[in-house]
């Protein structure tokens, strides 16, 4: 029994050591030191040139950024509130959407790619809305829903040759992946995650969420 305990503890110790070393090896860019991590987090922009701006309140307005996953139920739950806020603060608050497809959602990437392909034809918002409206039809399933998303594109009257080419282009997946990588570097752990003027928002309630936005727009 004692030999068992000693051996087991030893194995666990070795395992922990290997994992610790692996973490150290795979993580140098984002956390080798305080100064370094501070630099990388400031180097990763919360909004990029190619990020999708859904509501534009112009220069100087506070910016609300949402990292979202079209297959995430919590994002769907937040969607009506986000729409309400966009309406209420129209002209005062800029709202930007960034992709954060969670790997455990089989169609999160497909959905983001489809939305991005629609965005290339100037129909980001239509496809974005469509994804949320239909999430219950395609979410939480393991098979690819790309054909269904293609159907959505067709319904929107997109140029299908351009859509198919865009979806097949690895660059589009990289574009989505870039958002996700930025999100991870910024500390996004789940969806939806909001940033208000570059600061991570952790609202405790809808009221709190509004209060923080109110403060930002000086209401």
């Amino acid at each position: 029994m004692r030999r068992n305990v000693i051996l087991s503890l030893l194995l666990i110790a070795v395992f922990v050591a290997v994992v610790a070393v692996a973490v150290g090896v795979t993580r140098p860019p984002s956390g080798t030191g305080v100064a370094d991590s501070a630099r990388t987090s400031s180097a990763v922009p919360v909004v990029r040139e190619d990020s999708h701006v859904l509501s534009d309140a112009g220069e100087g307005a506070p910016v609300l950024v949402e990292f979202l996953d079209f297959e995430c139920e919590a994002c769907l739950a937040a969607y009506p509130l986000v729409e309400q806020i966009r309406e209420e603060y129209a002209g005062e608050l800029t709202f930007v959407v960034r992709y954060f497809p969670i790997p455990s959602h089989a169609n999160a990437m497909n959905a983001a790619v489809a939305v991005e392909a629609a965005a290339q034809q100037g129909r980001f918002e239509d496809m974005y809305t469509r994804m949320y409206q239909t999430q219950s039809e395609w979410g939480e399933q393991q098979d690819s829903k790309a054909p269904l998303f293609r159907q959505f594109a067709q319904d929107l009257g997109l140029d299908m040759a351009a859509y198919d080419a865009a979806v097949a282009d690895p660059a589009i997946q990289q574009r989505v992946e870039q958002d996700r990588q930025d999100g991870m570097a910024l500390g996004v752990q789940g969806t939806p995650t909001f940033f208000l003027d570059g600061e991570l928002l952790q609202p405790t309630s809808e009221g709190d969420f509004r209060a923080q936005i109110d403060a930002a727009v000086n209401r």
């Binding site: 030999r3 051996l7 994992v19 455990s104 789940g190 969806t191």
Partner: protein, 205 residues
């Protein structure tokens, strides 16, 4: 004269001891595994029923995108035989508890009883490995209660193997290092999970 009669008894003791007390130890291990497995399977079944009744229900074990029963329970793999897997767990672990109590009672069990127990725990172990593979590599989410079931199923199987080792049907080291075998197995699964979800862990760090 008394010392000399005591001595043979002491000498024979080591050869007899492994049989009876180890049988008891195996019984206790099986009892704990059975109870823990039964509790986990029971909770999973109740959560599954709630989820079926209300698709928007968020199970108590859906903690994060990765640690999420909801996404695992609503997959086709969660109903391999056309009905929810936890039904098998509730029945199987309840049977294991009964068998364990019988062993602890010290009853002399025929070898077919042990063979049946071995077959049962072996089938459970095969099924659990399929579930692990599906969960880690296909579904991409982990369900905490399911993971409890994985561990106790394997521990029960190894305990039964240890008993065969003591009975001489398997090499001695199987029984000697049963605990180490279970630990190693857990670490291998942990390593698979660590590798598969490396990105996710790194973001938490």
């Amino acid at each position: 004269m008394q010392p000399s009669t005591a001595e043979p008894a002491a000498l024979t003791a080591p050869s007899q001891e492994p049989g009876a007390p180890v049988g008891r130890v195996v019984g206790w291990v099986l009892l704990v595994c059975g109870w823990v497995g039964l509790s986990a399977a029971f909770v999973l079944l109740v959560e599954k029923i709630r989820l079926v009744a209300d698709p928007s229900y968020v199970p108590s074990c859906s903690i994060s995108p990765l640690l999420s029963c909801g996404s695992v329970m609503s997959t086709p793999q969660a109903e391999l035989f056309g009905f929810p897997n936890p039904i098998l767990g509730v029945a199987g672990f309840a049977a294991l508890v009964t068998v364990a109590v019988t062993i602890i009672s010290g009853a002399r069990l025929p070898s077919w009883y042990w063979i049946g127990l071995t077959a049962g725990t072996a089938l459970g172990t095969v099924f659990v490995h399929w579930l692990i593979f599906q969960s880690v590599h296909r579904i991409g989410a982990l369900c905490p209660y399911c993971m409890v079931v994985w561990v106790v199923t394997v521990a029960a199987f190894v305990a039964v193997l240890a008993r065969w080792s003591r009975a001489g049907a398997l090499p001695r080291w199987v029984g000697d290092y049963a605990v180490t075998i279970v630990t190693t197995w857990c670490l291998v699964v942990a390593a698979l999970i660590a590798v598969r979800f490396w990105d996710y862990w790194i973001t938490l760090a």
